[in-house]
């Protein structure tokens, strides 16, 4: 049996490698798994057989049969797997061979040999032999496949490298020659992709190999074909380019331009090259040389083009002024010259064209000569006419200009060729320029002179501007200046006439008054006489200026008068202002600087002003009386409750008004008024002070009665700060009233309320401690309510409320009630001392401190008579706190004591059962055995009781607990008897049985035990333990 499993192992090994190296059909792996499972089963069965004793023959036989069955099965599976593997290997061998046939040209000798050695037939022999042979074949196949794959990869990669070079050359050439191509770089990249594809799988994959090989071959062949096509095209292109350049270079050489030597080309026909790459490299070098040579040629031609073009342009511009030039024949000259980017042949064409046009222009020049000459003659004639005209307008023309004109005229008669006539033309233009400058300069100077003369005369417009470019235009400008001057004389005369008329009007107004000026009248008359004699522009300007000055001086004289009258008026006005804020006549006289009136108007103003002065004194008196009446109104506006303080002021005012009505002079009025106002002011301040003091006093009265008066200094200061400004008494009074009502009274009221509330709280606190302060609380609450509820409360009301409150809290009866309570508490605390002493074991110092504290409290209570209510209340609260602490200590002590007792009792056997019996039968237990519930009740009461009564309860509880502590051991002794009676009855017995048995037990108990409590307990315990009722 052993050989078979080694064969299976071998087959399995083979299958594994097939799976690893080849693509397998569906089901192959499954077959492997089945074989593996079966093998495992076999080895398990063998294990079992080995461990089965030789004596268990039947089992062994059964196992052996199973093993045989499985082994047969395994062999079948292995054979199937082997067949399948062989089929796969052989088919792969055949495919690889077929592939090698197709690519024999690229395969290495090693690969070829390896493929030849591959076996195409399945091996013969038993399973193991076959499997081993197959394994060898598979590995040989794998090896051969990898050799072939490497060959293919090398082949592709080599081709890719040199194709890539050639593609680069193609691209560069095509750029230089501007020639299109269909050689793509992407095809080269694709080759790289193909190599990568081959490396994707480590398994034998002939299909991929085949597809990669044939793809690569297609790409390589196609690229080579395209590059070769391109090479041929380049050859043609280069030849034709070279021909074109040589043609042009020989032509321009013939035209006399210096041409560099033609470059030597190296590339032959591509057919003469062994590889296309070398050809492409030579072609590239030729292309570069040609390109350089062409650029040089272009530069030479372009230089020449530019120089011819420039000269042609100049000639054209000159000739066309005098003769008709056919511009159609000058197409190159009139166009802009070409740039360096133009093609060589284009440049050459332009060069040729320009040379042709150069010839045409020289022909035109001959034709233009006669017309140029006659033109220049007429120009010289025109210039001499203009020169004479200018001299008539006083323009000074230099002699050399007239001399030159004559010389040029003579020259022109003699001139023969175009070049000379062109020179003459230039000179004539120079003379024309000189004449024009002379005329223009004179006209500008004249205008400047006129302009300076009329400065400050607003009625005259500026002289006309001198503009233009020609001699003729400037002469026209001179003429217009002359015309402007005659117009200006007329205008100025009209102006002077107007001034004279105005002055005469003013003089008429003043006639007969002290302000009439005879000298002014003489001047006016002289002006009137001179007016008719004015002829020149200069005289007109001077006379105008004289009239203006006369008017100005006369007006100023009048204004001085007005100013002095105004000053006098203002003096009186000042007095009025001192006395009263308002004076209805102030607006009449403006300051002289503000007066913008004509001479006649100013004269009228003087007359008006003298009338106003007369009205002035009456207005002053009326105004002052009115002022006094206004002060009176203000005083009467003070609120009624403060009015009394200010009443006497009214009499002073009435008296003054009376006196003012009888006063005569401004001085008298002023004296009277000033004194009255001064008196009034002082009296008002005094009354106002009196009023402030009154308010402050009321407030201070309340503060005095408060225990803790509020800080009103700010309000007081505000009141003190208040003063009467500009007779505004009502607002000052109102301000004080506001401070009193809004800032002081609410604070005072709040303070009174808070003080009262504090006492209420204090009394309520005392009440809570059990002190009978009810009646005091009621009356203080009443006072509090009255303060809170009264809407319009005054300081006096608050003062009264304070008095009431103070009376209540200082009441002797109140104190005695509190003292009584405090004394009772002290007594309770003293009684607590023993308990606290017990607690000393935990806090040794406490008892001492406790005793000290009690004596301190007692001392404090004795001092109650000398304490204020607040302090008393504090002490009461301290006593209460102290009591609460003491109480909590006592309670804690008691709880601990109870707990200690409970713990002590719990240590005793059966204690739980005893308490269980109690819990189940409390009432009867309490009655007959021990009043245990009573302890619980007292404990409850102790917890609830706040006052000193708690001490009594504790004493009671202690007694009971002590008794209970003694009672428990006794009961436990009784309880021990329970088990004597319990045998023979169980909790699971029926109620009936239990009840019957219990009755028997109870009878026994009654017989044996004499004491009622023992009997009761035992019965209760038995009933409880048995769960009866």
């Amino acid at each position: 049996m052993q050989p078979l499993s080694s064969a299976i192992r071998r087959v399995f090994e083979l299958a594994n490698e097939v799976l690893d190296k080849l693509s397998v059909p569906a089901g192959f792996e499954e077959s492997m798994q089945r074989l593996l499972d079966t093998s495992v089963r076999i080895s398990k069965l063998r294990e079992e057989l080995k461990s089965t004793s030789a004596l268990r023959r039947r089992r062994r036989k059964e196992l052996e049969k199973n093993i045989r069955d499985f082994e047969e099965n395994a062999e079948d599976l292995a054979r199937h797997l082997l067949d399948e593997s062989e089929r796969i290997i052989i088919s792969e061998v055949n495919e690889l061979k077929a592939f090698a046939g197709k690519f024999i040209d690229v395969l290495s000798e090693g690969s070829k040999r390896a493929i030849q050695e591959l076996s195409e037939r399945p091996p013969i022999g038993d399973l193991e032999m076959r499997a081993e042979q197959d394994l060898r074949n598979l590995r040989a196949l794998y090896n051969a496949y990898n050799l072939v794959k490497n060959d293919i990869k090398t082949w592709i990669s080599k081709n890719r490298d040199f194709l890539s070079d050639e593609v680069h050359l193609v691209r560069e050439l095509s750029e230089i020659l501007s020639l299109g191509h269909d050689v793509s770089e992407e095809a080269v990249n694709r080759l790289k992709g193909l190599i990568e594809e081959l490396d994707k799988s480590s398994k034998i994959d002939i299909a991929t190999l085949e597809s990669v090989g044939s793809d690569a071959r297609k790409i390589i062949d196609e690229l080579k074909r395209r590059i070769s096509n391109f090479a041929r095209a380049i050859r043609q292109e280069l030849t034709s380019w070279n021909d074109k350049i040589s043609e042009i270079s020989s032509k321009i050489g013939a035209d006399g331009l210096r041409v560099p030597p033609h470059p030597q080309l190296v590339a032959n026909s591509p057919d003469t090259y062994s590889d296309i790459g070398s050809y492409l490299r030579d072609a590239l070098s030729d292309a570069r040389a040609l390109s350089r040579y062409e650029s040089e040629l272009k530069r030479i031609i372009l230089d020449r083009i530019l120089s011819i073009h420039k000269r042609n342009r100049v000639l054209y511009e000159t000739f066309r002024k005098y003769v008709e030039v056919e511009s159609l024949k000058l197409s190159y000259t009139l166009k802009e010259p070409p740039g360096p980017d133009s093609r060589l042949d284009e440049l050459y064409a332009v060069f040729e064209g320009l040379r042709g046009e150069e010839e045409y222009l020289s022909k035109v020049g001959a034709r233009a000569f006669s017309s140029l000459k006659s033109e220049l003659q007429s120009k010289i004639l025109r210039l001499s006419t203009q020169m004479n005209l200018a001299r008539e307008h006083d323009v000074e023309i230099p002699d050399e200009i007239s001399t030159r004109l004559e010389t040029l005229s003579a020259h022109l008669e003699r001139v023969k060729d175009v070049e000379d006539i062109l020179t003459l033309e230039k000179e004539i233009s120079l003379v024309e320029g000189g004449l024009r400058d002379a005329v223009r300069n004179y006209a500008l100077e004249e205008r400047g002179r006129l302009l300076s003369m009329i400065s400050g005369i607003p009625s005259l417009a500026e002289p006309p501007e001198i503009t233009g470019t020609t001699v003729e235009e400037f002469i026209r400008g001179l003429h217009s200046l002359r015309r402007w001057a005659s117009d200006a004389i007329h205008t100025l005369k009209m102006e002077i006439e107007g001034i004279i008329a105005e002055m005469r009007r003013g003089l008429d107004t003043l006639k007969g008054t002290e302000w009439y000026d005879e000298e002014v009248e003489r001047e006016v008359n002289s002006l009137t006489a001179h007016l008719e004699e004015i002829k020149s522009f200069e005289d007109a300007v001077e006379t105008y200026r004289r009239a203006r000055s006369l008017l100005k001086n006369a007006s100023e004289k009048l204004l001085m008068i007005i100013d002095s009258m105004r000053r006098d008026f203002l003096e009186v006005l000042k007095i009025a202002e001192e006395l009263s804020a308002e004076m209805p006549i102030t607006v009449v006289v403006p300051s002289i600087t503000e007066i913008k009136a004509s001479y006649s108007e100013i004269a009228k103003m003087i007359i008006d002003l003298s009338k106003k002065v007369e009205q002035r004194d009456k207005v002053l008196r009326d105004t002052l009386i009115e002022n006094l009446n206004r002060i009176r109104d203000k005083i009467e506006g003070v609120p009624q409750r403060y009015f009394e303080f200010f009443k006497p002021l009214l009499e002073v005012i009435d008296d003054c008004i009376k006196k003012l009505s009888q006063a005569k002079t401004v001085i008298e009025i002023r004296e009277l008024y000033t004194r009255t106002i001064k008196d009034l002011s002082r009296a008002l301040q005094e009354s106002f002070s009196a009023m402030k003091s009154n308010v402050l006093l009321k407030v201070r009265m309340v503060c005095l009665k408060l225990r803790n008066p509020p800080d009103l200094s700010e309000s007081f200061e505000a009141i003190n700060r208040t003063s009467v400004e500009q007779w505004e008494l009502p607002s000052a009074v109102y301000e004080i009233d506001t401070i009193y009502r809004k800032k002081i009274l609410p604070v005072l009221r709040d303070r009174v309320i808070s003080e009262a509330e504090k006492y209420v709280k204090m009394l309520e606190g005392l009440k809570a401690y059990g002190i009978d302060v009810h009646e005091f609380l009621v009356s203080i609450n009443e006072t509090l309510r009255s303060v809170k509820e009264k809407e319009m409360i005054d300081a006096q009301d608050l003062s009264k409320a304070c008095e009431k409150i103070n009376k209540i809290v200082t009441d002797k009866k109140l104190r005695s009630v509190i003292t009584e309570w405090a004394k009772s508490m002290v007594s309770a605390l003293e009684r607590s001392h023993p308990y606290i002493s017990e607690y000393e074991e935990v806090s040794p110092e406490f008892a001492h401190r406790f005793a000290d504290a009690i004596s301190e409290i007692r001392h404090q209570v004795n001092m109650f008579d000398s304490m204020d209510m607040e302090r008393i209340s504090e002490v009461v609260s301290e006593i209460n706190d102290f009591w609460n602490v003491t109480r909590s200590f006592i309670l804690e002590i008691e709880e601990r004591k109870s707990k200690e007792l409970e713990e002590e009792l719990r240590k005793m056997p059966y204690y739980d059962t005893v308490t269980g019996v109690y819990n189940a039968n409390r009432k009867i237990f309490d009655e007959k055995i021990f009043p245990l519930s009573k302890i619980q009740e007292i404990k409850e009461k102790i917890r609830e009781t706040q006052g000193p009564e708690v001490l009594e309860l504790i004493r009671e509880k202690r007694e009971l607990e002590e008794e209970w502590g003694k009672k428990v051991p006794e009961i436990i002794t009784w309880h021990k008897a329970v088990r004597v009676f319990l045998s023979g009855v169980g909790i699971l017995d029926s109620e009936e049985v239990k009840e019957r048995r219990m009755q028997e037990i109870f009878e026994k108990i009654d017989r044996i035990f004499k004491r009622e409590d023992v009997r009761t307990y035992l019965k209760l315990a038995i009933r409880t333990l048995l769960g009866g009722r």
Partner: protein
């Protein structure tokens, strides 16, 4: 026997714990004595076993010094159920065992108490051989008594029941025909305690057990430990826990019995009796019942006096409850014991001979007609001593023994019928089937088992 009684002035007791159960009982006893601070009641002790592990465990658990233990035999695993192996090993190893007993003070003892289980291999097999050898070696020059405190097996362990049958049979042979008989066999039953335990209400049982064992019933952990095993846990675990509780009870009983063997100035035993005397006053098989701490103080009136009539009436009740609820083997309603012995110990003023009347009156209902009752009063001068009552009932008709016999019979039947089947007896027990049949037949007579119940003639 009568004449020999005079020659024993005082007991000197040597304890032997045999087998695993015996070893544990011995350990418990030693520990209990140690707690009292002295070991006055016994002159020495030895733990014997064939199982090495059991010895080591017992040493560790009870802090027994190595010189007080002995492993005999060559198999460290012990003899298992093959008691006959232990039986023969005692003879082979006797010289060594005897040397060790002597060195531990056994050479001067006149009473040997063997603590063992009746069902285990080592204890069951070794006990008869030990009795013979002790009597032969140490009884050459004086009269020695050998008592056996034997723990009966749990219910449903038929192999152990078979061993028990053999041992009881061996121990009760006629003295004339065998040297392997015990002077007194004190029977103790795990199964009784267990049954009671399960029958009663937890709280009530704990009350009783707590008081009997001196455990505090308020220690809930301990109660829980016991109660935990009532429902879902295996009976094996329950047994283990229960043995932990029952063993101290057995030890307490032992201590109470040994009270008779010691003297103290403040103690008076009336009438004077020696521990060894017990064997002379009782039938060979006895069942103990112990009530500790009799609450006589509950009878005190307000002035602290106890009314003697009340006490008498009360003691009658105590006797009833002791026999019914506190016997270490369930004795049933009518045990019809052939003899009885009781010890009432307590303070001198209450433990008085006139209490014999009510006790005897109460005990009467559990005895066969004409059975003798031997009273002993142990009076202490201390006033606060607890009052305890130990009752030993001689040869009661025990239902439990009958059950054991039935179980043994079933096992015998199972292995009967062919020679091949019957070979089992020799193989796993070391004795032939016939020996068991003989033993069973004898015990049936002793414990009034009807022939119709077990048809031995048929087999």
């Amino acid at each position: 026997m009568e004449e020999m009684e005079e020659k024993v002035p005082a007991s000197s007791v040597f304890l032997l714990g045999v087998g695993e159960c015996g070893g544990n009982l011995l350990g418990e006893y030693i520990n209990a004595e140690r707690e009292r601070g002295r070991m006055t009641r016994v002159s020495g002790y030895l733990l014997l076993n064939t199982n090495q592990m059991d010895v080591i465990k017992a040493r560790e658990r009870y802090h027994i010094p190595p010189e007080n233990t002995l492993i005999f035999g060559d198999t460290p695993m012990g003899v298992g159920g093959r008691f006959m192996e232990a039986y023969s090993l005692v003879d082979t190893w006797w010289d060594t065992i005897a040397d060790q007993i002597s060195s531990l003070g056994g050479d001067v003892a006149n009473t040997f108490i063997i603590l063992t289980s009746t069902g285990g291999g080592t204890g069951c097999g070794a006990t008869p051989a030990l009795i013979r050898q002790i009597k032969e070696t140490f009884g050459k020059t004086r009269r020695v008594y050998v008592y056996v405190a034997a723990v009966l097996p749990f219910e449903g362990q038929s192999s152990e029941a078979l061993n028990t049958t053999w041992l009881l049979y061996k121990l009760m042979q006629e003295p004339t025909s065998s040297k392997e008989i015990a002077d007194l066999v004190i029977l103790l039953s795990n199964r009784t305690m267990l049954r009671r335990r399960l029958q009663h209400d937890r709280r009530l049982v704990m009350d009783i057990i707590g008081a009997s064992l001196g455990v505090d019933t308020s220690d809930y952990q301990q109660i829980e430990k016991v109660l935990k095993y009532t429902g879902e846990v295996s009976s094996k675990a329950l047994e283990k826990t229960f043995i932990d509780i029952v063993n101290p009870l057995i030890v307490q009983t032992l201590i109470k019995m040994l009270e008779l063997s010691t003297y103290a100035p403040d103690k008076n035993i009336f009438p004077t009796i020696d521990f060894a005397d017990l064997a002379n006053r009782l039938d060979i098989i006895t069942v103990p019942a112990l009530f500790t701490d009799i609450p006589y103080e509950a009878l005190k009136d307000e002035r602290g006096n106890v009314d003697m009539d009340s006490l008498s009436a009360f003691l009658e009740e105590v006797v009833n409850v002791t026999v019914r609820a506190y016997s270490l083997v369930d004795i049933g309603d009518e045990p019809s014991a052939s003899s009885a012995f009781y010890i009432l110990s307590g303070p001198q003023q209450f433990t008085d001979v006139h209490l014999d009347i009510p006790i005897k009156r109460a005990l009467g209902s559990y005895l066969a007609e004409g059975a003798s009752i031997t009273p002993v009063f142990v009076q202490y001068k201390q006033r606060n001593m607890p009052m305890d009552l130990l009752i030993l009932l001689g040869l009661p008709k025990l239902e439990e023994i009958r059950e054991i016999m039935r179980e043994a019979y079933q096992l015998i039947s199972l292995h009967s019928g062919s020679k091949v089947k019957e070979r089992w007896f020799l193989k796993s027990k070391g004795v032939s089937r016939e020996v068991f049949i003989d033993a069973l037949r004898e015990l049936m007579e002793l414990f009034d088992v009807e022939e119709s119940e077990i048809e031995l003639s048929g087999t």
